[in-house]
Symmetry: C2
DNA sequence: ATACAAATTTAAGCAAGCTTAATTATTTTT
DNA sequence: AAAAATAATTAAGCTTGCTTAAATTTGTAT
């Protein structure tokens, strides 16, 4: 079981999380400017923070080189992500908050959550493995559920029926779009046809046919089979 | 309905709360050193903050004079207290946290709670009026429940049966003491005898007699009658 | 290979929220 | 009323997490 030894701050935790999500979850190169954009601070601020965290042994960094989390840094990032996603699930399922609002709230609560509170929340929620967006909740040890059976919607063959597991969105407008179509994790759809030329896709959802633009299709991860829900997906 | 216009910080909110609780709830004089002690910062820090908040119109202050909340400052303080006490109730009743731990947790969560989250929490808890310590939860408008029927345990006559409403404690050791005796808000006791010479008191609680030291007796507020619980006390 | 563009670092500086030490004001005691 | 004690303020300085602007390094295109 991991317990943070160093004293972290809101800024540090958000920084570590950004490095983790950008590099590991999104598989992108962790450049200074990408971090700057994501965190909404200047590149100079990124350099500052990188040097500071490097001294603390939380990231590996030398000038002009890529920023990489150390094992300690990675565990800390996973712990913050765990708190974030537990809160999101709580806000959505227990307090019935709007899907579009929970991220912003969790972004703040994640920094004020003791280990004890995290445990109680986990227990109250029934030791969930996924948040309402379908993102995996890291365990206390920093482990993630196996996801080898998840497939991008783009790769699903015509005629197949799949369950939507995860929709990766940041923008509020896009939420409303998905919400309008009734598309969310847990919902089953049938792929009718994929239009290769622009990646858009015709699907059947709750009996109705509709065409999803390619920009939305790429945001969706699916799974064959049917008996999964968030919380115990 | 009150909405904060100025941007507050953790330090400012804690400061305002300290002024409110010290002055209004505890009825003490709001001196710089009392605030310094309560907030764990230096007197110089108090002077700094007082001048800053005075400029913002949140407190009335001039050098060497007492610090007083303006109407704005008082409403802001009450809003923070509201969030604090809603969280305490949630942590205690919903997440089953230890009574001795909830204050510290709420002390941090209170600063990261949006109006929307506060509302949802309030609704989920059933629009409670009291926190687990028996402290009143201010309404969104900054109003407090009527407490004219509350009497200090010291003033209860021998032979009377009363319900414990509120126990004002900060120290963890004292919690454990009360817990050991089974004394908490909602519990009914009978006053057998008051020992005037040291303020200690013999009571009957759940059939058993015990002598409460004067130092504990003064921390307890009671009510005659019986059908009150926390949450809807 | 050179030149240009893009990314990153350095330098200087700012605000918040503190600190300690010295000074001044107020209150209490004699 | 003067002296002593207590409380509050001022002054100077520190850390964190930022900023902007200038300098430098790296990557890209010709
Ligand atoms: Mn999120
Ligand atoms: Mn955050
Ligand atoms: Mn409390
Ligand atoms: Mn607080």
């Amino acid at each position: 079981m991991y317990f943070s030894l160093l004293k972290m701050s809101v800024s540090i935790d958000n920084f570590l999380k950004a490095v983790y999500v950008l590099g590991i979850e999104e598989g992108k190169k962790v450049t200074g400017s990408a971090l700057a954009a994501r965190l909404g601070i200047s590149s100079a601020g990124i350099t500052d923070m990188s040097r500071k965290l490097s001294r603390k042994g939380i990231v590996d960094y030398s000038p002009y080189k890529e920023i990489v989390l150390t094992e300690t840094g990675k565990l800390e990032a996973l712990q913050v992500i765990r708190k974030h996603r537990l809160w999101e699930l709580f806000l959505y399922k227990v307090l019935n908050m709007d899907m579009a609002d929970i991220h912003k709230e969790a972004e703040r609560l994640e920094h004020e959550t003791s280990i004890e509170l995290m445990h109680r929340l986990d227990e109250f929620l029934g030791f969930p493995q996924y948040d309402p967006h379908g993102e995996p909740i890291p365990s206390i040890e920093g482990l993630l559920p196996d996801e080898s059976d998840l497939i991008p919607l783009v790769e699903v063959n015509e005629g197949m029926r799949v369950k939507i597991i995860r929709i990766s969105i940041r923008e509020k407008e896009v939420y409303e779009m998905f919400q309008h179509y009734g598309i969310k994790p847990g919902i089953k759809i049938e792929v009718i046809r994929l239009f290769d030329f622009d990646g858009s896709m015709e699907i059947r959802i709750k009996g109705e046919k509709l065409i999803l633009p390619g920009s939305l299709v790429t945001l969706i991860l699916c799974k064959e089979g049917k008996n999964v829900h968030y919380g115990d997906q």
